[in-house]
C-alpha cells in the first residue's frame, strides 16, 4: 500500500547480520530492514525509510528504543493514525 513511500515502523529485532536485519512488526508480521548496523537481538528499533516492498524497508534513519517497549500501544496508535484519525496525520 505504501510501497515506494517513506514509512516509519518499529521492529522487534530477531536477526541481525550486518546488511540485513530481520524483525517482527508490532502487528506480528515479519519485516526486513536493509542498511542497519548490527543491532542486539530482542531490542526495538524505530526505522524511517522507503518501503521497497510490503515487507521490507531501506533504512534512512533509525533509533534504538532498547528492550522495553509497549508494542501493543504503539500498534493501536498506528491503527488509529492510519484509520479513523488519518486526517490528523497526513
Amino acid at each position: 500500500m505504501h510501497v515506494g513511500k517513506k514509512v516509519r515502523a518499529v521492529v522487534h529485532v530477531t536477526q541481525s547480520d550486518g546488511e540485513i536485519t530481520t524483525g517482527k512488526s508490532t502487528d506480528e508480521h515479519q519485516l526486513i530492514v536493509k542498511g542497519l548496523p548490527h543491532v542486539s537481538l530482542m531490542s526495538y528499533v524505530e526505522v524511517i525509510g522507503i518501503a521497497e516492498s510490503d515487507q521490507s524497508i531501506r533504512a534512512e534513519t533509525w533509533t534504538n528504543f532498547g528492550n522495553t517497549f509497549d508494542a501493543q500501544s504503539y500498534n493501536q496508535v498506528c491503527q488509529l493514525a492510519n484509520g479513523e484519525f488519518k486526517g490528523l496525520f497526513l
Partner: protein
Amino acid sequence: MAVNLTPNAIAAIIAGDVNSKPLVQILDIKLIAAAAQPKERYRLLLSDAVSSQHAMLATQLSDRVKSGQVRKGSVVQLIDYICTSSQNRKIIVVLNMETIIRECEIIGNPKSLVEFDSTAQKPLPNGSLDHSTRVSNNRFNAQNPGQSVQSFPPTVQPPYQPPPNYRNHGPMLKNDAPARIIPITALNPYQGRWAIKARVTAKGDMRRYNNARGDGKVFSFDLLDSDGGEIRVTCFNAVVDRFYDAIEIGKVYLISKGSLKPAQKNFNHLKNEWEIFLETTSTVELCPEEDGSIPRQQFSFRPISEIENAENNSILDVIGIVISVNPSVPIMRKNGMETQRRILNLKDGSGKSVELTLWGEFCNREGQKLKEMIDSGSFPVLAVKAGKVNDFNGKSIGSISSTQLFIDPDFPEARGLRNWFDRGGKNVASVSISREIMPGGSKNEIRKTVSQIKDEGLGRSDKPDWVTVKATISFIKTDTFCYTACPLMIGDRQCNKKVTKSGNMWTCDRCNQEFEECDYRYLLQAQIQDHTGLTWVTAFQESGEEILGCSAKELYLLKYEEQDDDKFGGIIRSRLFNQYLFRLKIKEEMYGDEQRVKITIVKADNVNHSSESRYMLDLISKFSR
C-alpha cells in the same frame, strides 16, 4: 436395623459413671427457652432401650440439633458428660457426643427411669447386692447377643445403684468430693459443682470505684485452658484482697466455686458468653507443676487484608513475614522523654502488607534481632499479640505495653506462612494498607483536567473531592516555600506546628516545649498546567519532596545560610515543566469572608508512559462517533 445400645447406660450415668462413653438413643428433643438464658438450650430424652432420662445438651452442641445432625431417633455415643444432683434430682449434661446413626427407629420400649429413694430400696448388705448384680448382669448378657432387644423385661433394677446406706452419709459425702475438672467451654450457670484448670494469660490492674452503693475495688484476670477455652474472672472488694496477690500471669490455677454470669461484652472481648465471679467461698489453688497441655497464649490472627477494615484503636493479633526493618530512630515524646521507634513491614498470604511500628524496648530487643535476621538475608515470621490499629496513614499497627512479639514461633500458622513464602509467596507483590491517605484506594482514580475543576465545581460539597490530574509544574513560589516546624512527637505523629524563635531556642505552643533544632517542612504554592488551563495548588511536605527532589531543610540552608542564590535558582528551574500525575484534594474553604476552592497536591507521581498510553487509547475508543 438391629443396634445394641449400651445396656443400663442410663442407670450407670445416674449412678455416677461418666467414663464409659455409652451408646444411647435420643427419644425426644425439646427446646427450652428460659428467661434468664441468652442462648436456647435443648433438653434430650436419652434411652438405653430400657430406661430413659432427660439430659441437657451443652449450648456448644445446640447447632447439631439445628443442623439436623442430631434428631429424634438418633443413636449417639456420649463422649463427655456429667451427672449432677440438684434438689434430689439427677441432671445429666451432655458436653460432647458423636452421632453414630442419624435416623433410627425407636429401639426397645424404654420407660422413664424411676428414681429409687431409700424407703423403696430393700436394705440389702453389700454382698447380696453384688450377687444380685452379677445375676442381673448374667441375665442381661444371656439375652443380649444378637437378639431383638424387645425381649427385655420392661422394668429393670439398676445394678449400679449404690446401697442406700451410703447415700448422703459417711466419708463419701457428695459435698466434699473434689469437683471434676471440666473444660472452660462447658462452664454454664446450671453446672452445679465445677472446677477448671487454666493458665492466667492477662491480669488487669486493681481499680477503685465509687458508685451509689459506696466505694469498691475490682480486678479481673483472663484464663486459658488446654482446650483453648478462655474466660474472664472478676473479683470485687474483699475477694480482691484474697486473690489479687496470688494470681500471676503465666501460672496455672485450679479454680472452683465461682458464680457464672453473662459476660460484659463492652469490656470483655474473650470468646465466652459467661464470666466467672469469685466469692469468698471460691477456691483458687496454684498448680505448681508445669502443665504443658495448657498453651501460654491464645491467638486469633487476622489476615492483613482484614486489618484494612479494622476499627481505629482496636486490639488484634497478626502474623506475617517481616520483609523490611527500618533503623531505630529516637523520637522525643511530649513529656520530653526520648524513646525509640522502628518501623517494620509485614506481609502475608492475603496480598496485602502492613506497617508495624515498634516503640521503646521492642526496638532494641525484637527489633534489633529482626534487623539482623533481615540483613543476613532471611525473612523471619513474626507473630504479634495485642497490637493496636492506627488509622493515621492508611491502617498500621503499633505496639502497646501489653503487646507480645514472637519471632519464628512454632505455630501451625507460622509454618503455613513460611511454606507459602518460600514457595513463591516471596515474589507475590503486596499492596500496603498503610500508605493510603485518601479514601477509596488507588484503584478508584477519577481523572480530570484542570479546567474541569472549575467547570464542574469540584470541592463545593461538604466532603472534599479527590481527583487525579495529569499536569505540568509551571511555576513554584520561592519567597516562602517552607516553614519551621515542631519536631516533637505527639503519640506516633510528629507535632509539626509552626514554631517561633525566642533567643536561641525554638518554642512550640502546642507541646509547650523549647528546643534547639526545629524541623523544616514544605509549604509550597505552585502552578500546574495542562492543555485545558492552569491553577494554583498547595503542596506539603511529602508531595513537596516529590516535586523538588530534595528536603525542605536542604533548600532552606542553601537559600538562607549559604545564600547561594544561583544554585538555589538552578534547582528550582530544573524542577519546572516536569509532568506528573497529581493526586489532588479539592475543598472549598473560608478565607476571611469569601469561599475559595483550595487544591492540595497529596501525591505527585511520575507518569508511567506505558500505562498512560493505554489509558489514553482507552479514552479514544470511548469517543462517541
